[in-house]
């Protein structure tokens, strides 16, 4: 398939790995920010093919994983109400709230529907005028233009039975939070390619400069990832800290301007609590004042939410890159994708799920 097979060529991949081995004269810790990249790295075994000098740690770029527990609990409360059709991306259904998940609300008779696009939820609202349709609008900058468009179209049409529970998060403030942490080991970032397709990459310049941290915009195929890693290693070896683009076919410096304009119209930047990580200033998007009438959190006042995380779960450390999933004592034991204790074990982009899915178990590795 065009633009896919060429970037999976195993021979070129091995050459890139050779290159990286020659270039790396000392140990370097790199973080891929995006959970999609984490899955590609683990699935393709890239972390194991790299020379010992290069350690990949996995970042917080999994929107399902960082959606705050109180927001999940709010979603569960709204989805349980009579007359509500609650629409969500499929990943969200098994994410544990305090004790239950959307899937169990559905089993108990709640009208919970999985949609592929937020516009599908708008269509459900049009088709069901006597119901309230609520869409769970989560995601990073990549998803924001889609969710913004759904809100924009609903408002334009005067659809009064549509609303969105919004919990959007942003990459640059999360990078700063990671670099600011006293336990931080990350020396360079692979920036998430499709986030940059939307936002461009100028907003990373100040981070690279202030922290002296190389940032390389990177795609998702094996060659893209290896090229991104190589460019980051070259910068670290040369003592440079710049923003570079290893994903030129899909990303340009300015990003997608029409998408940015829509997002700027519909959303406003706010402080956001990240599950497992905590409050990060100015790290999220919520509905702007003009669109507040479509805010599900305001339309459905939900009170009495007492959140409880599993005491066994170390997802916060996993999301900050200070713990590998297979180092969590519950990994593969109390916690599996069927019985997840944390969101990172559920999502298609969660690091714990990636390790489980691709058979990364310590016991197996240790046995001869």
């Amino acid at each position: 398939m065009k633009y896919l097979d060429e970037f999976r060529d195993p021979e070129l991949a091995l050459r890139l790995i050779d290159d990286i081995s020659r270039l790396a004269t000392k140990r370097h810790v790199l973080m891929e920010v995006c959970g999609g990249q984490t899955h590609s790295i683990i699935r393709n075994g890239i972390d194991r093919l790299l020379p010992d000098e290069i350690e990949m740690v996995h970042g917080p770029g999994c929107p399902v994983c960082v959606t705050p527990l109180e927001t999940i609990d709010k979603a569960l409360a709204i989805a349980s109400r009579d007359g509500v059709i609650f629409c969500s991306f499929g990943d969200m259904l098994r994410v544990p709230g305090s004790g239950r998940d959307l899937f169990s609300v559905k089993s108990a008779g709640g009208d919970v529907r999985v949609v592929y696009s937020p516009l599908d939820a708008v269509q459900i609202a049009r088709d069901n005028p006597d119901h309230e349709t609520v869409f769970f609008g989560i995601g990073f900058e990549t998803t924001a233009p889609a969710n913004a468009m759904a809100v924009y179209q609903a408002k334009r049409e005067g659809l009064t039975n549509f609303s969105m529970l919004v919990s959007h998060v942003l990459v640059p403030p999360a990078m700063r939070a990671i670099l600011d942490a006293p336990t931080n080991r990350v020396e360079a970032f692979l920036a998430a390619g499709h986030v940059c397709s939307v936002m461009g990459y100028e907003e990373y310049d100040p981070i690279a400069a202030e922290y002296g941290t190389p940032i390389v915009v990177t795609g998702f195929e094996p060659l893209d990832l290896l090229q991104g890693i190589k460019m980051a290693v070259v910068q670290l070896e040369e003592g440079r800290a710049e923003v570079e683009n290893a994903y030129q076919r899909a990303v340009n410096r300015k990003g997608n301007l029409p998408a940015q304009a829509m997002v700027a119209d519909v959303f406003t930047t706010i402080d956001r609590n990240w599950r497992g990580i905590g409050m990060i200033p100015q790290s999220g998007w919520a509905l702007a004042d003009d669109y507040r009438s479509l805010d599900a959190a305001e339309r459905f006042t939900v009170t009495d939410i007492a959140t409880v995380e599993s005491p066994l779960c170390h997802a916060g450390e996993v999301l900050r890159g200070t713990l590998k999933p297979d180092e969590c004592p519950a990994f593969g034991k109390e916690c599996t994708p069927r019985t997840p204790l944390g969101a990172t074990m559920v999502s298609a982009e969660g690091a714990c799920a990636a390790y489980y899915l691709y058979g990364r178990f310590r016991e197996l590795e240790a046995s001869p």
């Binding site: 065009k2 590609s40 696009s117 599908d120 998803t143 030129q248 076919r249």
Partner: protein, 96 residues
């Protein structure tokens, strides 16, 4: 959710915020909102995320990246006479 894969635009209808098209992902065809890629035309490739085209793939940039990746070896062979010799020997064995 961010793992968009490339697809080819096969038709376009509507305009403005409802500009829509069908996009072919190696045989699987999906309806996609094209409002954010106003310059895209039939035959172009795009990355689609939750039902929205978020970027138009730049063919020239793709070819450049690939050419650059292929070149790595060419340069190395020139710089490293031992490797060049080994490669020649291997080629000779292959022909024999």
């Amino acid at each position: 959710m961010c793992l968009g894969i490339p697809g080819k635009v096969i038709d376009i209808t509507g305009e403005g915020v409802t500009r829509t098209g069908r996009v072919d992902f190696d045989g699987i065809v999906k309806e996609v909102n094209l409002a954010y890629v106003p310059d895209i035309t039939v035959g172009d490739y795009t990355i689609v995320h939750v039902g929205f085209a978020i970027t138009q793939l730049d063919e020239e940039a793709a070819l450049e990246t690939l050419a650059h990746l292929q070149e790595i070896e060419a340069v190395e062979v020139e710089l490293d006479p031992d490797a060049a010799l080994a490669a020649e020997e291997a080629a000779a064995r292959g022909e024999a």
